[in-house]
Amino acid sequence: MKGDNCVAIASDLRFGVQAQTLALDFEKVFPMGPHLYLGLPGLATDTLTVRDRLKFRLNLYELRESRKIHPKTFSALVSNMLYERRFGPYFVEPVIAGLDPVTFEPYVCNMDLIGCINEPEDFVVAGSCTEQLYGMCEALWEPNLKPDDLFETCSQAIVNAFDRDAVSGWGAIVHIIEKDKITSRKIKTRMD
């Protein structure tokens, strides 16, 4: 979600196989830069593989360019990597949230599994309960929220959405990215 000079990105912590829950500490949101976070919901093995392969490409970029990547460029990097596998894709639907490293302008985008970028002005959602998430975000989000309000909005949206999904939940983590700091908080949720 976008806020006033800040962005928030959140995920649940469940790892499971269909109805069975196997782990409660599986984070799906990874830092890719000082103000750049990437969420990778979907098949767990592809979550980890895409994260690692992307980090590799990102490192090479930063070595060649000697600067930190901009969020929009990073999206293009992710999109390119996913489209390379057009006919045998990675089963992840990335969500990117970050601040431009120079202007600190908020940026969010999401993609489908073959890299089609969607770059709205408000919020993006992905996962198994996107319908519920869209409903919650549409109802709760408003523009120019301050970091504390953005945290509250983002938390309520994700928690109430996955409480209506049988295969999501079991804990949540929210990261608030501001110009000078990143705050990550785990939320106490229903564990069912």
């Binding site: 499971g16 269909q18 109805a19 069975q20 829950t21 409660l24 500490d25 198994s128 309960c129 319908e131 519920q132 409480d163 209506r164 999904d165 049988a166 295969v167 229903r190 564990m191 069912d192």
Partner: protein, 233 residues
């Protein structure tokens, strides 16, 4: 997708229609993918269930009451297709009320269980219903009868059912003791259901308990903080 993957006895296949577009909750049938349990104690029975009904992965009802009245002292715990079990329970309740009027005395738990069995067995190809019948009568006291999908009937001191039960067979086997008191039984059922709800995606919500003895039923609900917590690592 999480539909009620039931116990190994209950082979449930997700009823997806491949010619339907859109998310599965538009066309998947309601299922009480579930954790249910009933335990006998000296003087009555404790019955318990979770409160989640799903259509596909969407939680259609998070405060369902799966402990359904058949008569004042006989209740059933429902798992499987929500529609099937509701319909069967209604029919059994009707038959039992009629019988008890004819006979002039309160119905027997064994009678209720047998009517359930007759319906579940005769229509076994068309139904998906895993039911636990439990109650009290003056002849045999507290009784628990388990009727899994095929329509078998067996009386047991303790029975667990639903998709969530698979996760607690070990806990239940290790912690059940003969001749528990009513309070010990309540704690045992609550703990088992809490563990099942934690692991099973198709179970969750609140823990509903019922304590049935000769005076009738006393109901309990455990929500949020009151549900026992275990290892959450």
């Amino acid at each position: 997708m999480a539909l009620s993957g039931m116990t190994s006895q209950m082979s449930m296949t997700p009823k997806f229609q491949h010619n339907f577009m859109g998310p599965d909750w538009l066309h998947a049938e309601h299922s009480t993918g579930t954790s249910i349990m009933a335990v006998e104690y000296d003087g009555g029975v404790i019955i318990g269930a979770d409160s989640r009904t799903t259509t596909g992965a969407y939680i259609a009802n998070r405060v369902t009451d799966k402990l359904t009245r058949i008569s004042d002292s006989i209740y059933c715990c429902r798992s499987g297709s929500a529609a099937d079990t509701q319909a069967i329970a209604d029919i059994v309740a009707y038959h039992l009320e009629f019988l008890s009027l004819e006979q002039g005395e309160p119905p027997l738990v064994e009678t209720a269980a047998n009517i359930f069995r007759q319906l579940c067995y005769d229509y076994r190809d068309q139904l998906t219903a895993g039911i636990i019948v439990a109650g009290w009568d003056s002849r045999k006291g507290g009784q628990v009868y388990c009727i899994p999908v095929g329509g078998m009937l067996v009386r047991q001191p303790l029975s667990i059912g639903g998709s969530g039960s698979t996760y607690v067979y070990g806990y239940v086997d290790a912690n059940y003791k003969d001749n528990m008191t009513r309070e010990e039984c309540k704690k045992f059922v609550t703990n088992s259901l809490a563990l099942a709800m934690m692991r099973d995606g198709s179970s969750g919500g609140v823990v509903r308990l019922g304590a049935i003895d000769k005076t009738g039923i006393e109901r309990f609900v455990f929500t949020g903080k009151d549900i026992p917590k275990f290892y959450e690592g």
